[in-house]
Amino acid sequence: MKYIDEYRNPVSVKKMLGAVFDAASGMPGPVRIMEVCGTHTTAAAKMGLRDRLPPSIELLSGPGCPVCVSPASFISHAVRCAENTGVIVATFGDMMRVPSCGTSLEKQKGKGADIRVVYSPTDALSLAEENRKKKVVFLGVGFETTAHAVAACVEEASIRGIENFSVLCGHKTMPRAMEALLKDPEAKISGFICPGHVSAVIGADPYNFIPEKYKLPCVIAGFEPADILQAVFMLCRQIASGKPVVEVQYSRAVRREGNQKAVAAMYRVFEPADSVWRGMGKIPLSGLKFRGEFSRFDAAGLFSLDAVSDEEPEGCLCGEILKGKALPRECRLFGRECTPSNPEGACMVSSEGACAANFLYGRE
């Protein structure tokens, strides 16, 4: 397959690993590199990367899985919407098994709630168009990668008069969460592997504050083994040079200026808002909410959704794991009470969560 097989070529990948070792030897000391994208978490686990990096490089997984960082209250509200007759809840597949208050969307579907898995928000819009007598609520989960597409669908709904379409907005944005991590003195992050597809939308500039204010390097990376290794190499090289900047490794998909049309669409419909990240608490201006002129598409305004506690299960270390301060194996619930089929905490919920990736692919 083009643009995939070349980046999985064993010869190239092994050469790249050699380059990482060379670059690592030029660094002043051990480093902790954090990726903040669920797909990077999974890719790194699937290629067994941690076992193969030089001992001076520790790879951390941050809060990069949007499903995992959706608070329990979001799922409760989604379930509440589904309980209304005449409502179809449309969601990405990964949300189906997220536990909240003893239930999940999958369990509710089993009890007869009309909950449908869609691959794209446009599918949810089509559902609304085909079922005019029903209200279709799309669960808006995801970072900037998905938020702009959801915004485009809301605009489309407005233009075409599909007034029975609405979105329960749980979208979050990456840069403010990365800043929250850096403000934690115990985080000890040496550099970021930045999310490839979020950056395809927002470009490189939103990360500039990281080298400018915090003097830390950033590399925007793709998802194949060669991409991730090259990004690690580029980070090591920056650390060795002492001149941190934001570099783009994933140049076949990311332009420095990003996709300005997508960003414009996103901010026509949504505006920044404070947001609760499961395991991390409220992070200022790290989420999106509807702007006034599109508020009729805001599902939160259409159904009475009570406040729900966002408490974590006892013993759950997700908060520390999401900040890169603990490893999944250090949580006493990991692999025992907490597994992918019975997830207790955020990080085990989605296949792209740090705990799930560790459980599914890690060595014991």
């Binding site: 064993p10 669920g38 686990a45 290629m47 089993g110 083994p225 089929s341």
Partner: protein, 346 residues
Amino acid sequence: MGQTITKAHGGGGRLMHDLVDSVFRRNFNNEILDMLDDSAGLGKISPDAEVFFTTDSYVVYPHFFPGGDIGKLAVCGTLNDLSVCGAAPSFLSAGFIVEEGFEIKILEAIAQSMADEAKRGGVKIVTGDFKVVENGAADGVFINTSGIGFKSSGLLLGKEEIVPGDKIILNGPVGDHEIAVLLERGDFKLRGCVKSDCCNLYPLLKEVFLFHEKVLEESGDAVLRFMRDPTRGGAAAALNEIVSGMGFGAEIYPGGLPVRDEVSSVCELLGLDPAYLANEGKAVMVVNGKYAERALDIMKRHPSGGDAVIFGEVVREPAGRVIVKTILGSGRILRAPEGSMLPRIC
């Protein structure tokens, strides 16, 4: 376990196994059922032949898909459950649950397909049942087939026969069936040329059985150790079932699992792992390392075995686990499926 059945219970993974164990095995309680093999060995009918019995239900939707239909599946699936236990299939039963309003000419087409497949396979459908339920209660038609076959006594298959150094063979690429059905269902508005691999495995496996008996007679060595057909839950489910609780593990070579380009493309787009995709014409075969290459040659010479490949081997450590060797040379676990596969969100 929760209080109600969810779709994940039907995924061929751990949830389903736990349910089968706690609800059915515990209640039905007998040593034959405890084996939980693809078919149940009932004992010898003559010095030379052992009777095997199996059952399966078919609920696939849509009923017709590239490469097959629910009828063909209902015959081949049950024949394959017998074949992978070493039994030559002989007789089938066929039970139908049909929705009110279902078109008779479609039922006729399904029956015709079953008849064709049974005739090709040299088996007879000798008994059956037919029920009608109200509209909406059966997704058109559900079919159950049960099968009887006869295994030669010389073919001693069992997990306890497996030793480190044995090789693991697949008769072709994985994932064709599940992807063919997924594309036909139209949920993702993707189009492709993927055909289900639905077919009767016995003609191909028979060649290996004959080779096994020849080697056994000449040298006393066994060729075949054990087989599983990787249906729901895919090769990952089958491999984990083979190693679970045993004193050996399995290691898959880097890039070892054979997957068609088209299936790979769909998996990349939807975030699916081909190791967990259902197959309806595949066998995971554990073979004596000494004879693996020759067994592979024999398979490749058969018209339906051209894509057969040795994709892994049995290892001493870690016992009870399936490990995939990655592109970087490290090992990572291939877990048994937990539930049903869902596409990722971004």
